[in-house]
């Protein structure tokens, strides 16, 4: 079998890239996934989308993507409901230092046309009445941030890509990428051997392993992040509530349930997706302090998924110097769902040698060469 492009991974990134290449007229695109659609981080994520970032690049990726999400149902011609909700992110500052940083972040965001603003405790309380303002200093709010159903959004890309002729193969694990004289020859998976010159690595937590198969070193690693969901209840909370210092994000999704997560600073670097009681303990303490009424809800399920961390906590989107035809969309560091529309647009522009929508020299793999110390995005949970 032959293909023009082989995409490894049918998460939101792989599906978005497939769609964007196909819509530009590229034929013979094959997507391989070792499991089912959204089986990786995409089907495990919080699916929040926000533009309130601390680096210019992240702000621009998020802003461009939200513009796409706003029209996604029509653009992709999706029959189902992507459950898009745009009721903002309320990001609370828990100490003076954080509050000062937020001042700077909002300045940056506004300079890029993002409608975020710095607000007082009282204003925050009006937006989320059950917020415990005793433990906060201030907050920032951006009304156009929000949330989507990650399965449906990926399915929308998947179906649109299929209609444009992209072939998807599930339960097909990529085992090897054969390279000769610095050129890609073929991809070998569970049941297939595909002759191709171009491979796009959108393998999420396994991006490093796929890089190794092609002989390209990608400095990313996976770490487990846990999350839980409660029983559904009537709507009481519009925006996502988030705190970096308190280590929490918590959102009521349109279906009525609350989803919430936090990070474990001691987490190991591996592919674990396990659920722990330690997470449940810490999560319940945190959420009961900041959003006390949420404490009355029953947890129905918890799970884990990978964040794929890059050294500067920003994604790697682009080609590689050492291997022609090998492209990367990985290292999203816990926020690749919300960037996926831009990931697909930008990578397809790079592949087709078109002018990219924004300057993305900062997202190239070679930025890590000979570099040990990084200033990185701190606005992450």
């Amino acid at each position: 079998m032959k293909a023009n492009y082989v995409i490894v991974g049918a998460g939101i990134s792989g599906c978005s890239i497939a769609y964007n290449l196909a819509v530009k007229g590229i034929k013979d695109i094959v997507v391989l996934d070792k499991s089912y659609l959204t089986s990786g981080s995409t089907g495990r994520c919080g699916a929040g989308i926000r533009q309130q970032w601390g680096t210019k690049m992240n702000c621009l990726l998020a802003k461009g993507s939200i513009e796409f999400f706003e029209e996604a149902k029509e653009t992709l011609g999706y029959d189902g409901d992507i459950e898009f909700k745009q009721e903002g992110y309320l990001i609370i500052s828990a100490n003076e230092e954080e509050d000062e940083q937020f001042e700077k972040n909002v300045f940056l965001q506004q300079s890029l046309g993002i409608p975020s603003r710095k607000i007082t405790k009282d204003e925050a309380k009006k937006i989320v009445p059950h917020l415990n303002t005793d433990v906060i200093v201030g907050a920032t709010f951006c009304p156009t941030d929000g949330h989507l159903n990650p399965f449906k959004m990926t399915d929308a890309y998947f179906q649109a890509a299929q209609r444009l002729g992209v072939k998807f193969y599930f339960n097909e694990e990529v085992k090897d990428i054969v390279v000769k004289n610095r050129k890609i020859k073929k991809v070998i998976s569970t049941n297939l051997e595909i002759k191709t010159r171009n491979v796009i690595n959108a393998a999420g937590g396994y991006a490093k392993e796929i890089g190794d198969m092609a002989g390209v070193d990608i400095p990313v690693y996976a770490e487990n992040h846990e999350i839980l969901v409660t029983e559904p209840v009537e709507k009481i909370q519009g925006p996502m509530v988030m705190s970096f210092a308190k280590n929490l994000y918590c959102q009521q999704v349109p279906h009525g349930s609350f989803i919430m997560g936090r990070s474990n600073p001691d987490v190991l670097h591996n592919h674990s997706n396990e659920s722990t009681w330690q997470f449940l303990d810490e999560m319940s303490k945190t959420v009961c302090e900041i959003l006390p009424v949420v404490g009355n809800l029953r947890v129905v399920r918890q799970w884990g998924g990978s964040y794929t961390m890059s050294p500067d906590r920003q994604p790697i989107i682009g080609g590689t110097e050492d291997l022609k035809g090998f492209y990367l969309a990985c290292g999203f560091s816990g926020h690749g769902f919300m960037f996926a529309p831009m990931t697909g647009i930008l990578l397809s522009q790079i592949i087709l040698k078109q002018k990219t929508m924004i300057d993305i020299s900062d997202l190239q793999l070679n930025r890590f060469k000979n570099k040990q110390v990084f200033t990185y995005e701190k606005s992450v949970v």
Binding site: Y36, F151, S284, V287, V294, G295, R301, Q302
Partner: protein, 93 residues
């Protein structure tokens, strides 16, 4: 009885028709059906519908029941209030 009237997942009100419609579109693994329809994601966590869905998939694909993988079982086994977990955690430390 009409497939539209046969409720398979009581937590999320999913009918046999919903499941067949999706299988006709090509979503024939229990995990995919779960993600799109929320079957198995409600308060009972698939205790009621899990086996019914497994049987439907097996009939549809014409494979043995034991060859159809069911949902991954996730904690908790029963809903517990966040407040209670917090109190439990405070007692321990």
């Amino acid at each position: 009885m009409n497939k539209k009237d046969m409720i398979i997942c009581r937590c999320e009100d999913v009918t046999l028709q919903d499941i067949h419609d999706l299988m006709d579109q090509g979503y024939t693994s229990v995990e995919e059906l779960k993600r799109i329809l929320r079957i198995g994601m409600g308060p009972c966590q698939g205790n009621t519908c899990g086996q019914l869905v497994q049987r439907e998939v097996s009939k549809y694909l014409n494979v043995k029941l034991e060859e159809v993988k069911t949902y991954k079982v996730r904690p908790l086994t029963t809903g517990v209030k966040l407040n209670s977990i917090k109190e439990g955690a405070n007692h321990e430390s």
